[in-house]
Symmetry: C2
């Protein structure tokens, strides 16, 4: 595998990153450009293919495959995009077929959160752990579950929506149809909404502003943070009970202020989860890494070749 090179593509709503990654997770070269979704997916594929040609020009080996991590709901098996808010006009576009045709090498696709988790499992904080869970707390709560190095698959390859499991039915309604799903109680917007409802006369504050104010001890911000931490703790405790993970890694905007949340999370797990070996679950906060998206995309390709076929 020493000469194996992988084309890694990280497709976001505003930016597309393209890189050349070794089978050891080293990013040899990379570049990025703005997504320009209004020009349609075919234009982006042309730019990706051109970038891959440029980046491989100086390399000693050809690409063995292409791994793609893409924002929003994507179907890893058909290669097609779902209804992605930031990528109007990309719905139902088969990115695997298009990139394979344009580059002459096979490609594999995952949601960018799963790609990131696969990369962290292979080369990062979750190295070799099984089960490995990444929880991303930001505008929503995204959860990736990796078992034995593969993305957990539901019926027909479906992705679970762990961030939408119900943890308090007295909570607010969510577009998932439930009241009090985890995301409705513990995401960034959930914290902002709750703080705004408590202080309707004050200007609405962002999650980052609330965290900053809480660190100064400001009572209303502190109350919002404490409520969010409580619900984050209940949800993380549930993941420990539900999946008995070896490593559970926290990520996302809210976790930049992890000192406000992590103690409550750890205390909640400690006080509950009595019937699983919680002492074997390592809970940690992922460090930000600009190249993690590309390494994750590369691992999408590497892990796909090991994955049992869905019949």
């Amino acid at each position: 595998m020493a000469d194996t090179l992988i084309g890694a593509i990280d497709i976001g709503g505003t930016k597309i990153a393209v890189g050349i990654v070794t089978a050891q997770g080293q990013v040899l070269a990379h570049q990025s450009f703005s997504t320009q979704p209004e020009q349609g997916p075919q234009a982006s594929v042309q730019r990706i293919a051109q970038a891959l040609i440029t980046l491989t020009n100086n390399q000693s080996a050809n690409l063995s495959g292409i791994g793609i991590g893409a924002t929003g709901p994507v179907n890893p098996f058909t290669g097609r995009f779902g209804a992605v808010e930031f990528l109007t006009g990309w719905q139902d576009y088969d990115i695997i077929a298009a990139l394979t045709a344009a580059c002459g090498v096979p490609a594999a696709l995952e949601n960018d959160a799963d790609a990131y988790a696969l990369g962290e499992w292979r080369w990062g904080a979750g190295r070799g752990a099984s089960p490995f869970i990444v929880v991303t707390v930001g505008t929503g709560i995204g959860v990736s579950l990796i078992t034995a190095g593969q993305v957990y698959r539901g019926v027909d390859g479906a992705h679970p929506e762990i961030g939408h499991h119900i943890i308090d039915p007295s909570g607010p309604p969510c577009t998932c149809g439930a009241h009090g799903c985890w995301e409705s109680l513990a995401s960034g917007p959930a914290m902002e909404d709750w703080a705004a409802r408590q202080s309707p006369s004050l200007p609405r504050r962002t999650g980052a502003e609330l965290c900053a104010a809480a660190l100064t001890g400001e009572p209303s911000a502190l109350a919002a943070v404490q409520r969010t931490a409580r619900y984050l703790g209940l949800g993380i405790a549930n993941l420990v009970t539900l999946y008995a993970p070896q490593v559970l890694a926290l990520s996302g905007g809210i976790m930049r202020s992890s000192e406000l949340f992590l103690p409550v999370i750890l205390n909640t797990v400690q006080a509950t989860c009595a019937y699983v070996p919680k002492e074997k679950t390592r809970i940690l906060v992922l460090e930000s890494d600009a190249l993690a998206g590309l390494r994750g995309a590369a691992q999408v390709w590497l892990s796909r070749s090991d994955e049992p076929k869905i019949e």
Copy 2:
């Protein structure tokens, strides 16, 4: 595999059943005897070995292996019993080593609920489904998760405790350390406790009595059933969101009155779970089958030989 015969052992707190099962799930012969835990596990192993010799006497092939389903926490990897309430004196006893020595063939062990789920996955209502979930609602809520024909394993092979995930933090305390875990809200005793608290002047009623009274329309019993059905629905909806199962099968004492609970369960899943393909999840009630425990034990042996090793 036509001549493969499996020794199947179903160890309960009151009864041990022993059978000879084909690789096609046919129970060729079986017998059972009372457990007599006070005589210790070694006496039971002798009786099991004797029963296997008797039962195989008329068979055309020898046993290729022994599968065991046993009540209570057991360690499938060490073969040892945990602290099993009904089997005093069995703790730390290595049933795999003992049976292998007594019978001269290798053996494999699972908790009886997982064994039952494996049998239903191979030959029953969950035939070939992945993921396949069995929820047993009785004195507790036991959940078995089978993915690709194997018991889901957490860290170091740990068993998750899905029945103890929190669904309403305003609920009662549980020995798991949480308030409002699923079992504390929706098991048989949870229903009985709640009904007794609502009508402290009446004699305490069992789950079966409450279900029978609810079927006649008696208001206080109906209220207890409706509350239980609501929480069963929330928990089942969570399992659909958390695991995206292909088949979710309900079992256990409470489900003998499934007509009281199933409509609410199905409605709850329908009203929530918007981001998983819930229409692909088949939810059903398992029919009672006296030989299901033995078939499950046989499948413990068959599936173990296919299972990836835990390193």
